[in-house]
Each structure stands twice: as structure tokens, then as C-alpha cells.
């Protein structure tokens, strides 16, 4: 008989962002039990993690277990002992032929266990094994740990309860409805579970909650915000959209500030007018079915008004002291205990920008870039650092190049985020990140595994993206101060960027980086060339030949790099290759590859590099080495993985 299985872990409100991963983890743990089943569905609300499976057997199939005993040649006592241990007679034993000889053995029938028993035994441990980034205990010291207290458990296999207990909670058939709109105890079966929840104002499926929000937002011009919508999907059991408004006079505040208040602090969608400008409206998602008397709308409007009033107060107060007058205040803001204050950081950034070739406005932008850390607005809305500085700089009459640079200098904050829009911003951003990287690496504060508290990977990735995509030509290695750990760290970031983000083949990236990566703009240009060259017919054979040259030179441990003496050459392939080399030297590989390749092939076909005469041999090796060097400035082609 095939049975449905329902497991609902009822908890207090789980942080929304942890729910999808926890569900996936629960599914994997269940699969690991290896109980046959036809399908598994996972669902969750903030108060329940739910696993439903179909088609479980009532008991697992019977199986056989073969136990091997002593060798056939063993003394009779040993054989008798083996039989006795198994509780059988010697006559019931079989003789089994193995590669090592013949052995006594016994095949025991193992009766398949009842699924219910397996589940009852496994579930308590399985549930407590679900991974959460931070857990708590709630019964007493040493008690079980989970993300939030477990308050009820539904565990049904078919019509039967799977009996177990965690933290004093016994699994049963009673679920719980919406905190305010549903009943506290609701009897369910595997068949009516979802519907019963729905009757008690719990929409079990995240997708249905998502659709409900989407549908109710239709007709309102909200700024699309998938991350916010997902938060709301997992923070509600019965989401309902309401709209509210605010006094249009607040629109005089910068949009960035208004949107941050609405999005980050209040979890509202902001609304645009027909021209794409911010409208004095918002859309909020309640965890209740309706707001007929407007209590919720008015409450939210009042909270928003208070928040906007605060923001306006900060905006006006901060302006009384321009950014330029705040530079000295940065002496009191610590960047990192051992790396000094933001004042010192700013000085170092200005120096890096000079090294990069930045001019007056870039340096001014750097000088003012951290001053917003002393403003009330940034203390209140830390996520707006940089942006607020840029807005103040604009209001205080700084030129566009400067204020935009300040505004953008934390960018790019992710692989998808844009890089700073102007060169000054690119310089400031690179200088800021490089300074952090240099400082942390000098102190040995290096990322390990998944631990990267200073966000150094993201910082280095940002530097790489800005240099390449902003086409900032510079000597990156010189900027890394010869710190080998930092150079290796960057090499990884450069590889990752071109390989995973830009889609170049890994061997092309290796080949081009082996020819140098001081200047990432140049590296990118070479990668593009190699990528174009690769499908041409001469490419792979030439790459293979280059690899062969490299092997020959390695094997000969050839270090000499003298001049080529044409007098020592044989007429034919060797001389021909040399002459070809002289004709094409200095030209880009693309235009010469078709001429070079047959000459190289011919040399390897007809000429023995390791000639008996040492002088001839040296001369040939020198020719090969020269050739390799000449055409390896674009890429070290021997790194290319060839199929021939």
C-alpha cells in the first residue's frame, strides 16, 4: 500500500531570508533516509516548515544479508561457533566460493522495517539537523537548538500519527492557523491539510502568496523590487496589499532617502507617477485579510510621516556644516583599529589616486568621499553612505565630476551592480578598495574559506571590474606593493572575472595571464584576440607546437638566450623557419599564424633539434626560444588545451 506523508514543523516566526535554504536542507535530509517515494513537495510560511511526500510504502521491502564465516578448512570448533552465534545448525550453513577460497556463509532474511518506525526514529534528529545560520535554545541550558522555538508538530503517515517528541512537543495531527484570524488548534489529515489551513487564513504555498501580492499590486505603478517581494512572501501567512500616501512636500527630499526609508525601514514598495518620478504614495503588504476601516493604512502613514520628518531634520541639520569642513572630524572615526581613522584612510586614497594618474577633481572627490560618515543622515541610514555624501556635495555646489564620484564610490556592490559612472568615481572606488585590501593583507586579515568579514573578495572583484570595464590602464601589480599573498588573491579574482563573469575559456585565461596581467585593459584585449583566433584552423596545431617547443626547452634545461647564428643553420626547414621569423617578427600573431604554422611543423618533421654538434644544438634551441618569446607576448599558447 502506498501512503502519503505530511510533516509540519510549527515554530515561532522564522527570519524570512533563512526559509528557502532551510526547506531545501530539510528536503535533502529526508531524501537521505532513502525511503522510497513518488514525489516530495516543500512549503513554508514564517511559522511552519512543511514537507509532503506521496507514495511511501507501509514497510520497506524484505532484504537478505549474507554473513561470511570461517574458511572451509577451519577447525570444526570455529565452524560450530559461527553457527551458534547465528543460532542455526551447521547444516544450514552454505559454502561460498570467493576469490580467496571457499568459506562458510549464511544468508539471513531481514524483514523490511515499518516506514512509520523509521520515521519516528529518524525525524527528531533530522529536524534538529536542519541548518540555520544562527540558532537558539529555549527550554533550558543544554536543550535542543533550532532557529526559533518549536511549538507544534504534525507528522502523519497515511492516517496514522508518526509518534515522536522534540523539546517536549509531541507530534500529532493538530496544526495551527493564522495568529489572529485562525484557530489555534485545527485537526488535519494529509488530504485536507492545505485546505484546512486556507480556511484559517494561512496560504501555505509561497507561490500562491507571491501571486496574491503580484495580483493586488496590478494597477499600482510600483518600482519593481523582487527582493522586497520575496521578503514579504516569507514574512506573511496571508498577505494583502494596501496603499497609502504621504505629503507631497516630502518629495523635496532626495528620492534615494525617501526610497530607503520606505524600502529598508518600512518594507514598502515605492510608487512612480506616469513619468517615472517618485509619487507621494506607497504600497505595503499586511499579514491580515483586509483593512476596511483604514486603521492599518493610517498607522503606516503616520509612521512614514515621522520617519520622513526625521530624515528632513537630519538633511537640514547636516547641511549646516559642509562636507569640506568635516574632513578633520574623520580623525575621530575609526576605519579599523590597526589601520587608523578614516582621515588617514582618506590621505592614503588620495595618494593612490595620484599614482593612478588622477587629477585635481578626482583627488578632491577622494578627500570628501568619507565625510558623510560624520553626518546624522548616514548615522541613521548607514546603507546610504556614499550616496548621501554625493547628494550633499551636489547641494553644496561641487562639480558633477566630484559629486558623482562620491555618490558612486562604493560601487560596484555586486557582480550585477554598475561601476562608477565617471573616471573620478572609478579612481576613488579603486583607491578605497585597494587601500582596504593592502591594509588588511599587511595585517594578515585575509579571507579564509567562507569567512571574509571585511568583504575583501568583493572589493578585489570590484577593482578588477572597474579597471577592465572603465578601461583604466594602470600597472595593477605595482599597486599591490609586491605582497605575494595579495597578488595571488588578485590573480584568482582576475581569473574568476574573465572566466565566470565574461565567459572566456579557462585555458585562454590561463594562457593570456601567463603572458602577463599587469594591465587588465591590455589583458582583456589579448583575450578577445585569442578567443577570435581560436576557431581558425592553424591555431590549435600551432598551440600544440608551442607546447612542444616549451617541453624541449624545459627538457634541455635551456637557459641560454644568445643570438642566433645563421651560419650554423641547415638549409631547408630550419633556415626557412628562421627566414620566415625574420619577415614576420613584430607583427601580430593573427596576421602571421597561417605562415608560421607550416614552417614550425616542417621543422619538427624534418629536423632533429637535439643535434649531436653542441653548437648547432644550442643554436637551434636559441631559435626556438626566440620564436616562443616573440609570439608569447599575447598569450602563452602552451597553456591552451589542444585536442590533437
Amino acid at each position: 500500500m502506498s501512503l502519503p506523508f505530511l510533516l509540519e514543523i510549527g515554530t515561532e516566526e522564522i527570519p524570512d531570508w533563512m526559509i528557502p535554504d532551510a526547506l531545501e536542507n530539510l528536503r535533502l535530509l529526508f531524501e537521505k533516509l532513502a525511503i522510497p517515494h513518488e514525489s516530495v513537495t516543500m512549503d513554508a510560511t514564517p511559522r511552519r516548515l512543511v514537507l509532503r511526500a506521496e507514495g511511501l510504502p507501509e514497510r520497506l521491502a524484505d532484504s537478505e544479508e549474507r554473513i561470511t564465516g570461517p574458511a572451509k578448512s577451519a577447525p570444526p570448533q570455529a565452524v560450530a561457533g559461527f553457527a551458534r552465534k547465528l543460532g542455526v545448525t551447521i547444516g544450514e550453513l552454505a559454502i561460498e566460493a570467493t576469490p580467496k577460497g571457499e568459506y562458510y556463509s549464511f544468508t539471513r532474511k531481514v524483514e523490511g522495517r515499518r516506514t512509520k518506525d523509521i520515521l519516528a526514529e529518524a525525524l527528531p534528529g533530522l529536524i534538529l539537523q536542519i541548518y540555520f545560520p544562527k540558532t537558539m535554545y529555549w527550554t533550558a541550558k543544554g536543550g535542543p537548538r533550532f532557529i526559533r522555538p518549536i511549538r507544534w508538530i504534525v507528522a502523519l503517515l497515511g492516517e496514522e500519527i508518526v509518534p515522536f517528541e522534540i523539546a517536549g512537543v509531541r507530534a500529532g495531527a493538530l496544526t495551527s492557523g493564522h495568529r489572529r484570524l485562525g484557530a489555534r488548534e485545527i485537526a488535519v489529515t494529509t488530504a485536507d491539510y492545505e485546505r484546512r489551513l486556507r480556511d484559517h487564513y494561512v496560504i501555505l504555498s509561497a507561490e500562491q502568496r507571491r501571486q496574491k501580492i503580484r495580483k493586488e499590486l496590478t494597477g499600482i505603478r510600483v518600482k519593481p523590487d523582487d527582493a522586497l517581494r520575496e521578503t514579504l512572501v516569507y514574512i506573511t501567512e496571508y498577505p494583502t496589499v494596501i496603499t497609502g500616501g504621504f505629503d507631497p512636500q516630502f518629495l523635496r527630499l532626495p528620492e534615494e532617502v525617501l526610497i530607503t526609508v520606505m524600502r529598508h525601514h518600512q518594507k514598502y514598495f515605492s510608487v512612480e507617477d506616469a513619468h517615472g518620478k517618485l509619487a507621494p504614495q506607497f504600497a505595503a503588504v499586511m499579514n491580515i485579510d483586509a483593512d476596511p476601516e483604514g486603521f492599518v493604512r493610517r498607522g503606516n502613514e503616520r509612521v512614514l510621516r515621522a520617519r520622513f520628518n526625521d530624515a528632513r531634520f537630519f538633511w537640514e541639520t547636516d547641511q549646516k556644516k559642509p562636507l569640506a569642513d568635516r574632513v578633520a572630524d574623520l580623525k575621530h572615526v575609526t576605519f579599523q583599529a590597526k589601520l587608523g581613522s578614516y582621515y588617514e584612510k582618506t590621505r592614503r586614497m588620495m595618494k593612490i589616486i595620484k599614482e593612478l594618474g588622477g587629477k585635481r577633481l578626482s583627488i578632491r572627490a577622494a578627500r570628501l568621499s568619507k565625510c558623510d560618515l560624520t553626518t546624522e543622515l548616514v548615522k541613521e541610514f548607514t546603507e546610504l553612505q556614499g550616496v548621501v555624501g554625493g547628494l550633499y556635495a551636489r547641494a553644496q555646489g561641487e562639480p558633477a565630476e566630484v559629486w558623482e564620484a562620491i555618490y558612486d564610490h562604493y560601487k560596484p556592490e555586486s557582480m550585477d551592480d554598475a561601476i562608477p559612472r565617471n573616471l573620478a568615481g572609478q579612481y576613488v572606488s579603486v583607491a578605497d578598495k585597494l587601500d582596504t585590501l593592502r591594509g588588511c593583507f599587511r595585517l594578515g586579515l585575509v579571507p579564509t574559506g567562507s569567512r571574509d568579514p571585511f568583504g575583501l573578495r568583493r572589493a578585489a572583484q570590484g577593482v578588477v571590474r572597474i579597471l577592465v570595464e572603465g578601461r583604466v590602464e594602470c600597472d595593477l601589480l605595482a599597486l599591490l606593493e609586491g605582497n605575494q599573498a595579495l597578488i595571488d588573491f588578485f590573480a584568482d579574482r582576475v581569473k574568476f572575472y574573465f572566466k565566470d563573469h565574461r565567459g572566456f575559456a579557462y585555458d585562454e585565461v590561463n594562457a593570456c595571464m601567463a603572458a602577463g596581467w599587469r594591465d587588465l585593459v591590455d589583458l582583456e584585449a589579448r583575450l578577445v584576440r585569442v578567443q577570435k583566433l581560436r576557431p581558425t584552423p592553424d591555431f590549435e596545431p600551432l598551440a600544440a607546437s608551442f607546447k612542444r617547443i616549451k617541453n624541449i626547452l624545459d627538457q634541455a634545461k635551456f637557459t641560454g638566450g644568445g643570438t642566433i647564428d645563421p651560419q650554423l643553420m641547415e638549409a631547408g626547414p630550419e633556415r626557412d623557419l628562421y627566414d620566415e621569423y625574420r619577415r614576420i617578427a613584430g607583427q601580430p600573431i593573427e596576421s602571421v599564424i597561417s605562415r608560421l604554422r607550416p614552417k614550425v611543423d616542417l621543422l619538427f618533421d624534418k629536423v632533429l633539434v637535439n643535434a649531436p654538434d653542441a653548437r648547432v644544438r644550442e643554436n637551434r634551441l636559441t631559435l626556438l626560444k626566440t620564436l616562443l618569446a616573440e609570439f608569447s607576448t599575447t598569450a602563452d599558447f602552451s597553456e591552451i588545451v589542444t585536442h590533437s
Binding site: 527570519p15 544562527k134 489572529r180 499586511m286 483593512d291 492599518v296 583599529a337
Partner: protein, 295 residues
Amino acid sequence: MQSFQEIIFKLKQYWAERGCIIQEPYDVEVGAGTMCPETFLRVLGPKPYNVAYVQPSRRPADGRYGDNPNRLYKHSQLQVILKPSPDDVIEQYLGSLEAIGIDLRKHDIKFEEDNWEAPTLGAWGIGWQVMLDGLEITQFTYFQQCGGIDLDLVPAELTYGLERLAAFLQVKDSVYDIEWTKGFSYADVRYRDELQYSVYNFEAADIATLWKLFDLHEGEAARLLKLYDPKSPDKKRFPLLPVYDQVLKCSNLFNTLDSRGAISVTERVGVIQRVRKIAVGVAQAWVDQQEEVAA
């Protein structure tokens, strides 16, 4: 309309009916209800304890001279400790909101992740901020550690922001417009506190004097802590509660110095450590003091 004090009466009544001791505010300055001995010390050890009290909480840096409608130097918290936390603690909490007239079928309640931590007390917990129609009205915390010690029983701590709650219920945009009781607004009762303490904390406090006081209180706490002897048959007499008062004094002085701009960022961590050291010292001795002397 319920006045500010009626709201407080009802909440106290509600929690009294659920077995809480109703305490009066602690008489030493604190930054939060958590710091009162009724919370900080009582959550330690294996004895159950339920208590509720209103605690005026002083945050010198939050003062705004009485000009800002939502920010106060001294606000009032209703602090509830349920140790151990009952299984239906959230239902009980929601019941308290209904007790002050909030019909939760008509309002939007959300529990948003917000873990609490107090580095100066070596204390932290897991919990939420409770949002009512978008307004944070309560911090809900399951204590995990206090004074650096794992707690035997996990208490639930409910901290209600009373001014916010009252402004919500009375539909006021400024806390100063809250009706404290008939004929008296919040401003009538508290405005002078806000103005004068803002002036003191931001302008008038003498930094050298405050540092001297800090050193004296810290010294007194450290001196006494050294004398605590876990093996002494008289250890129950030992004045740990007065020592803890010294910790509170230090904490408030630290906050005042901070609002006065007298603590540089580099010093900051060090001063927090100093307060934490004596706080943790008291907590450890307190736990020991509850136990009998080992034979």
C-alpha cells in the same frame, strides 16, 4: 481615550494577573530596563522569576532638547521578564495588546527578526521587533547569555516602548502631545527633563569630573569584587547588589561622556571593556552566591 498612565495601569494589571511581581522602577540611572538588577541578575541561575516594571531609560545621545517629536533622552519602557518563558508566550504578549484596546483583527502585526545584544553587559538574545501597522512597539527577546554566562532557564524579555504605544493609541504625531492624564500632556510632565538634560549632556557636563566619577565607581566595584570569596561561609552577606550599582553608574557615565563627544573611537572599545569586566564579575559572583558553599 486611554491616558498614558491608564495604558500603564492596564499593562501592569495584565501581567500581574499572569503571575508577575510588579516592581517599581529601579532608582539608579539605566539606559534600558534590561540593566536593572530585576532583569540582569534575576535571569541568572535556575530559579523561575516573573516580573514586570516600568523603567525610565536614559539615553543621553538621543536627547533633542525637546524639539524632536519622536526622540527622547529619557523614555519609558515596560519591561516584562518571564523566566522560564511559557510555551504560549507570544499569545500572552498579543493578549496584552488586546488588553489595552488594540483589536488585532483590525491591525497588522508582524514579527521581524531582530537579535539583541548588549556588549557592556556581556548579554545577548534571539528575537524580533514587533511591528504594529509598521510601527516598532516591542522588542521581544529570548535571552541566551547574560554577563557572559549561558542561562539555565531561557527567559523571554518583552520591552514595550510606552511613549510610542501611547502615541499610537491616542493618534498623536508627537510624543509631547500624549495625554498623560486628564489635563496634563506629556510635555507638561517631561519637557523640562528633555531640555535640561540635553543641555547638560551635550554642553554643560564637565568632562574631567565625569571621568573622575567613572574611575571612582569602577574602582569601588573592582575593590569589592576582589573581596568576594566563594568559599566564605558568609558569602550570602556579601554586598553584590551595591557593587552592581557601581556598574550602572559607570554605564550611565560612559553614555554621558559619549554624548558629550569625550570618547574617541579608539578609546571606546576599551571603556566598553572596562564596564563589561565589572558587569561580568558581578554576574559570576551572583551565580556563585546563589549556591551553597561546597563542603
